[in-house]
């Protein structure tokens, strides 16, 4: 078993144009910075990206948008990105907006081997259009399908050579369920340790879900909204 690769370029080398990718992160928190940069370098295009957000103009998925590598975004919230808005309004970019909990749960369903789930979010709204509904205990629910993706790319705090992952604080967000959902999952971590060094009690994502892992470098971890309080 050898899951460890040298760097992001090696991890993503088999990703091709036209593929569907899941990318972890919430806003700019917990995004796979190294792999996004490698995808920009590789120049693959016509990508469908499943990710809660679309980055900002010059960071995160915004870097892929700048190079027009994305055909379609599947997200819950895409504000804070002028280039995204421009491509959307000009028709260059397709976007499917879905409720955040539905996004998370459709990833989860995929990772748990469930083809679909019934969810309440969006009943009676345009999100429900064209969807099958079923009534349980007097309430209507929407049938929502598990996502099908070629690759999931996630970012963890620590990982080991078996692919086990530990996330930090709110940088966890979508990463664990995307790690479980990818047909092939790539994990970039801040610190890669030998198997045995992570406490098995404290691992968030078991390595069975992870195909390739590497220690990333030069994390910028940009803050979107820097809010502070004064010392009294």
């Amino acid at each position: 078993m050898n899951k460890v690769v040298a760097n992001a370029d090696e991890a993503i080398k088999d990703i091709e144009s036209g593929m569907t990718l899941m990318l972890g992160g919430f806003g700019l928190c917990g995004i796979p910075e190294n792999c996004i940069a490698a995808l920009v370098r590789k120049g693959v295009n016509n990508l469908t990206c499943i990710s809660n957000n679309a980055g900002v103009d010059d960071f995160g998925i915004g870097l892929l948008l700048q190079k027009k590598q994305v055909k379609k975004m599947i997200s819950s919230y895409v504000g804070e990105n002028a280039e995204f808005e421009r491509q959307l309004l000009s028709g260059e970019l397709e976007v499917e907006l879905i409720p955040q909990g539905t996004l998370a749960t459709r990833c989860m369903a995929s990772g748990y081997g469930m083809p679909a789930v019934y969810l309440l979010a969006g009943v009676g709204t345009e999100v429900a259009e064209g969807k099958e509904t079923r009534n349980f205990n007097g309430k209507d629910y929407l049938l929502e399908y598990a996502f099908d993706s070629d690759y999931a790319i996630v970012k963890a705090w620590k990982g080991d050579t078996m692919g086990n992952l530990v996330f930090k604080e709110t940088a966890r967000n979508f990463n664990p369920m995307m790690a479980m959902a990818g047909k092939i999952t790539i994990a970039e971590v801040e610190e890669l340790v030998p198997a045995g060094e992570l406490d098995p009690n404290e691992i968030h994502t078991p390595g069975i879900y992870v195909r390739h892992i590497f220690q990333g470098s030069n994390y910028e971890k940009r803050i979107e909204q820097r809010t502070v309080r004064k010392r009294s």
Binding site: F26, C29, S75, L88, L97, V123, G124, E169, T170, V228
Partner: protein, 218 residues
């Protein structure tokens, strides 16, 4: 006249009860955290994966891995816990969150809410709002009573695409406090300096006035 944003938040904070798990949306709802009454312990849920949201960090102590759903840097508190987005919306969906406070563009007198999209303009997305309004047991809307053009945001029927149907229980605006009842909006309290006539004139949806209507006390 009427309440300013801080005062709207202050009035909503009086609805908090000891032991509540609360999700506060972006904007005026976030300010509610500044007015939690003495002796009332609530746990703030941030849907990106945190229970026990603390105040903003001191300058120099910002942590990029620790943000709230508005992407602001925050801190934890004793007893805080992190989890993933699926679990976060799982606890919301399962009704474990006692109160949700969020903003709105429009509220209808049957409890419908619209707050995520203006057709023809930039569409940013619904984020977690649809999940929250579909599942929360108790939802309070915090908003201005009228839009910048002076038009009522309390309507008989929403004109914008809906976020959720028949889900809102209470609305607190700069002009007053309103319950949603089978007869439409019911004015329970009015802001200092605001008359019932003004509320009637600025409410487009069905409106009744409670017999014991009173001035908002902050």
């Amino acid at each position: 006249m009427g309440l300013n944003k801080e005062q709207i938040a202050q009035r909503i904070a009086k609805e908090l009860q000891d032991g509540y798990y609360v999700n506060l949306g972006i904007g005026i709802p976030t300010l509610v955290a500044n007015y939690i009454p003495e002796g009332v312990n609530v746990v703030l849920q941030s849907e990106n994966g945190l229970l026990g949201m603390g105040p903003f960090p001191f300058e120099g102590e910002e942590d990029p891995d620790l943000i709230n759903a508005g992407k602001q840097t925050i801190t934890t508190l004793p007893g805080s816990v992190f989890f993933d987005s699926a679990m976060s919306f799982g606890m919301i969906r399962a009704g474990k969150v006692d109160l949700t406070v969020l903003g709105a563009m429009e509220v209808a007198d049957n409890g419908d809410i619209a707050n995520w999209k203006i057709p023809g303009k930039m569409v940013k997305g619904m984020g977690g709002a649809m999940d929250l309004v579909a599942a929360a047991k108790n939802i309070i809307v915090a908003m201005q009573h009228t839009n910048p053009k002076g038009e009522s945001k309390l309507l008989h029927k929403c004109t914008l695409p809906l976020t959720g149907v028949k889900c809102i229980k209470k609305v607190v605006t700069d002009l007053g406090v309103f319950d949603i009842t089978p007869d439409g909006f019911r004015c329970l309290e009015y802001a200092p300096g605001v008359t019932i006539d003004e509320i009637k004139a600025k409410t487009a949806g069905r409106l009744t006035i409670a017999d014991d209507v009173k001035e908002i006390a902050l």
